[in-house]
């Protein structure tokens, strides 16, 4: 058998009706083929088209081999092997991540959060030094009212700075010392048995209820399940919007990323092993960071439609100039891009035999996009292997994980709105800087503010957890006290 099993539920329902006619009326009132009770009693009948499941010989197509596509392939093949189901999986991507420059790049800041590094280690996926360009052990927070360093809670390097591709467009081939992170993940998937197809999918249609894809080179293939992991920057997303009417792509906004070639010594001198985060009072700028890597420093600007005047204002800021050598001009370097990132998740990122993962579905706001790709890819793989591949299966098991991220993003939006208010109030901002400086200087103090900012910038915790931590009475009382001290010191013209 090389096909999915489609069990017709009609005969079940006929028998059920006969049994129900002998049951008490209260029970009958709670019964309907669509009710929760019927789903619990007869899971095989929960889909009107019959239960759709993966079984021996099923074929799975994965479109896009960025983190979401590769994680999905890796985990689905791992779980089907454990489950004793033998499936075939084709991973489509026209890009070769071994190619230098934009062709082999996935346009990203390239930070793997502390929590994801730990989860991958627990999964048996240890990031090698040939992929991680720099281990990050601290954050430098730069504000208009001063700068302060926040060390990792365990004084251990648990944040990874990577390049998604092989390297920026101006890298010399002889300087390539690190592999692409996306290529590393792609190889993990291939090691598990995925078949990598270097071709672009440019047509999607339906054949007898199954998705059929056609590639640019003319390959035509039907699948039992299609996982879509094309991100929000790919023109392929339009294909799926047309082929799957209930799906609405995520809303997104433009960002700015560029790569400064500084060399290892200069990077060590100006940035060290710290990620430099900027909370500056610039309109439309939510967050900015400079991330040291092996030979390069990556600059990321996040906010509402980042444009040239905003980039110029940021690069000319004295605080930013201090983090870069004087010979670096205040203008974008040759390797720069303006990729889009999600601001709102997709609507119904699933259907019968199709699921959207990573950025094409739902991702975390501003932070930990690779972590969200891992979570959504794994949730989709678990649903497909352990529950089924119908729309109802994805709604019941996959969608709650996406919704959790979506709801958390709403809290994140409120936190970033609050941060912007603080950015415009220098006296209050001074209080925050003071509080962090005191916590970092005296390790016996509870690091309330340091932890809130650490988690906010690193993406290590959910926005919900950050909010709860910020509502702690100890946090609030110390914050109020430090804000008062900040105000008094500024009025007196003395900075403590």
């Amino acid at each position: 058998m090389r096909r999915l099993r489609g069990v017709n539920s009609g005969s079940w329902l006929t028998n059920v009706s006969a049994v129900l006619s002998r049951l008490p009326s209260t029970f009958i009132r709670s019964w309907s083929p669509e009710s929760d009770l019927s789903r619990q009693l007869f899971p095989e009948a929960e889909n009107g088209n019959g239960k759709l499941k993966l079984e021996n010989g099923s074929r799975i197509g994965v479109i896009g081999s960025g983190p979401a596509g590769s994680f999905f392939s890796h985990f689905l093949l791992d779980m089907t092997r454990r489950f004793g189901v033998d499936v075939g999986l084709d991973l489509y991507d026209p890009r070769d991540f071994a190619v230098i420059g934009p062709t082999g790049c996935n346009m990203c800041g390239g930070i793997i959060s502390e929590s994801l590094v730990q989860m991958l280690a627990a999964e048996g996926i240890n990031l090698p030094t040939t992929v991680v360009q720099r281990g990050i052990d601290s954050y430098m927070l730069h504000t208009d009212m001063g700068s302060v360093r926040i060390d990792t809670p365990l004084h251990e390097k648990r944040i990874a700075a990577i390049h998604r591709g092989t390297g920026p467009r101006d890298i010399d081939a002889k300087d390539i010392k690190w592999f692409s992170f996306d290529r590393f993940l792609q190889e993990l998937a291939v090691d598990k048995g995925a078949r990598l197809v270097r071709d672009r999918v440019d047509t999607i249609s339906w054949q007898d209820g199954r998705p059929r894809i056609k590639t640019r080179r003319g390959l035509e293939q039907d699948y039992d399940l299609l996982a879509v992991a094309v991100g929000v920057n790919s023109p392929s997303l339009k294909l799926f919007q047309d082929a799957i009417p209930q799906y609405q792509a995520p809303q997104s906004t433009k960002t700015f990323i560029c790569e400064y070639k500084l060399g290892p010594e200069t990077l060590e001198k100006y940035l060290g092993d710290s990620m430099h985060v900027f909370l500056l009072n610039l309109p439309r700028l939510e967050f900015a960071a400079i991330i040291p890597k092996g030979e390069y420093a990556t600059l990321c600007l996040l906010g509402e439609d980042i444009d040239k005047p905003l980039i110029k204002s940021f690069l000319e800021s004295p605080l930013v100039r201090k983090c870069l050598p004087p010979e670096v001009p205040p203008e974008p370097p040759p390797c720069h891009c303006s990729p889009r990132i999600n601001t709102y998740g997709a609507v119904q990122p699933f259907g019968d035999r199709v699921v959207f993962i990573g950025d094409s579905g739902v991702t975390r706001l501003f932070k930990d996009g690779i972590g969200a790709a891992y979570r959504t890819a794994k949730a989709a793989a678990e649903t497909a292997v352990f529950a089924g591949i119908s729309r109802e299966d994805f709604r019941a098991h996959y969608w709650p994980k996406c919704r959790e991220i979506d709801v958390d993003n709403k809290i994140g939006k409120a936190i970033f709105a609050l941060t912007r208010i603080w950015q415009k109030r220098p006296h209050d901002l001074r209080g925050i800087v003071l509080m962090v400086a005191k916590e970092q200087a005296d390790k016996k103090r509870a690091p309330h503010m340091s932890m809130v900012l650490w988690d906010l910038f690193t993406g290590s915790a959910t926005y919900r957890e950050i909010l709860w931590r910020a509502l702690h009475p100890g946090f609030l009382s110390r914050l109020v006290w430090n804000v008062i001290v900040g105000h008094v010191s500024l009025i007196r013209g003395k900075l403590p």
Binding site: Q118, M119, T130, V131, R134, P264, E382
Partner: protein, 123 residues
């Protein structure tokens, strides 16, 4: 330490976890080797040598007991700490995360069975 090295480096002989201490983390070896020893009547009994990708300290995550053995660096070893709270919270959300740990524990039980069988046969 290379710029891309994650975790923390322990030098030869340095103790990473100590028998009898309360543990709140598990460790994954990124590079190098570590030795597991049990202190019995003041003597160190070597139990195992762990290498790259092996993990230890996971028993403290699942039972509220002190560390059952000491683990120390055998040469320079680089180790990544996995927080108990972070891991347990994620396992609650995604139970399949525990698959690999269960696999590891099964392997350990199997090894102990073989060892026990060998001892009993010798007796």
């Amino acid at each position: 330490m290379e710029t891309g090295a994650l975790g923390k480096v322990y030098q030869d002989g340095e103790i990473i976890v100590r028998q009898g201490e309360v543990g709140n983390a598990m460790y994954v070896i990124q590079a190098g080797k570590a030795e597991v020893v049990e202190e019995v009547n003041g003597k160190s009994v070597p139990l195992a040598v762990l290498g790259e990708n092996d993990f230890f300290g996971e028993m403290a995550l699942f039972e509220n007991q002190v560390r059952s053995a000491t683990v120390r660096a055998l040469g320079a070893v680089r180790v990544l700490t996995v927080d108990k709270k972070t891991l347990l919270r994620r396992i609650q959300q995604d139970p399949t995360l525990a698959f690999r740990m269960l696999e590891h524990l099964c392997r350990r039980v199997r090894k102990l069975d073989t060892e026990l069988g060998r001892i009993k046969t010798a007796q």
